[in-house]
Assembly symmetry: C2
Homo-oligomer: 172 residues x 2
DNA sequence: GAGTAGCATTAACCTATGTTAAAAACTCAT
DNA sequence: ATGAGTTTTTAACATAGGTTAATGCTACTC
């Protein structure tokens, strides 16, 4: 929890209303954000204007663009509040510095990254081996609360299908 | 490179012929493997017998099942040599222990995990937003050498389509 | 309570990819 | 070179999901 304390004490707290953007695809954004509370979506907009949702971010999660942080490149996705949310912003470079100084912080970073990699691995598995119907049932099973809060539109964009297709799936 | 030295010196070296399995989906496997040289594939076999390839693993990469290592659960995928390969096996738990002891090792673990997460994020992006044709063109563009070495079957399984579909894509 | 805006459903048609099976093209050992 | 085994291509048909557009539903405003 040393990391959490560090971020809470030294980071800057921001307030976002539903619909507000934390950062936009293409921005430079060398920060990570700790979600104090609320719900957000991280999403891509493709060249032809199609939106797909990468992940939903809940209370106590940490989110940031690895691409922006690691490669000094622009963010590959946007982050938007789905609900009133409070985030604490902390510079990614400072996180790396601190983790060089303190082994406990470094340990916590390792734990966070392991969890992240595991989550991504699961998602890759689903996208690669399951049908849209199976992915939807999985989501409903593993996080019914989240499904209740989301619009069908956002669920569909997360599953990688259109809202029309999702409606069809729901009715067999 | 301290980590690399540690693994090379204390790990156990194994030799695999083309087609040999390093570990199998369902195994307990609390090790990571450093690929000294060769080429391997990490793949899932679904309940109905369909194979999909999670990733190809090249020289100098580190591979292991996060699920097995972190959750003490069975491996979710199998690892098979596509070419004669030499791997060095090292216990995951020992890696975590060492990283608690040495900040340089911990730093190296962070770097490896960041790289892994970034790779997974890119793959997630591709699976979510690109068509099979676009994914194939991407692969051809970013790693033509790899494409040359693989069978069409394995490329298709990596893209998440059938070899028949890939053949069609190649001919427009 | 009528009007408007935003979501969800339905339907008709289209396209990409799956499935199966057969034919063709390689690859290699003898 | 021959033939066996593997990989790739081709073809015909089936299915999941995309697209568009019309309709229905809910909820909020006035």
């Amino acid at each position: 929890m040393e990391l959490q304390n560090l971020i809470t004490e030294q980071g800057v707290r921001y307030h976002f209303e539903k619909g507000a953007r934390v950062f936009k695809q293409g921005d430079d954004c060398e920060y990570i954000y700790l979600v104090e509370h609320g719900l957000l979506k991280a999403f891509y907009v493709t060249a032809n204007g199609k939106e797909t949702i990468k992940s939903f971010i809940k209370q106590h999660s940490i989110i940031g663009s690895l691409n922006a942080a690691l490669c000094l490149a622009p963010c590959t996705f946007s982050l938007e509040a789905l609900d009133t949310s409070v985030l604490i912003r902390f510079p990614f470079s400072q996180l790396l510095d601190e983790s060089k100084r303190s082994i406990t912080i470094s340990q916590e970073v390792v734990q966070i990254l392991l969890g992240l990699a595991l989550k991504k691995e699961r998602r890759e598995f689903e996208l690669l081996t399951l049908s849209a119907t199976e992915r939807f049932n999985n989501l409903r099973r593993t996080d019914p609360e989240l499904v209740k809060k989301l619009t069908q539109n956002d669920i569909a964009k997360y599953l990688g299908i259109t809202p029309v297709a999702l409606s069809r799936i729901k009715h067999q």
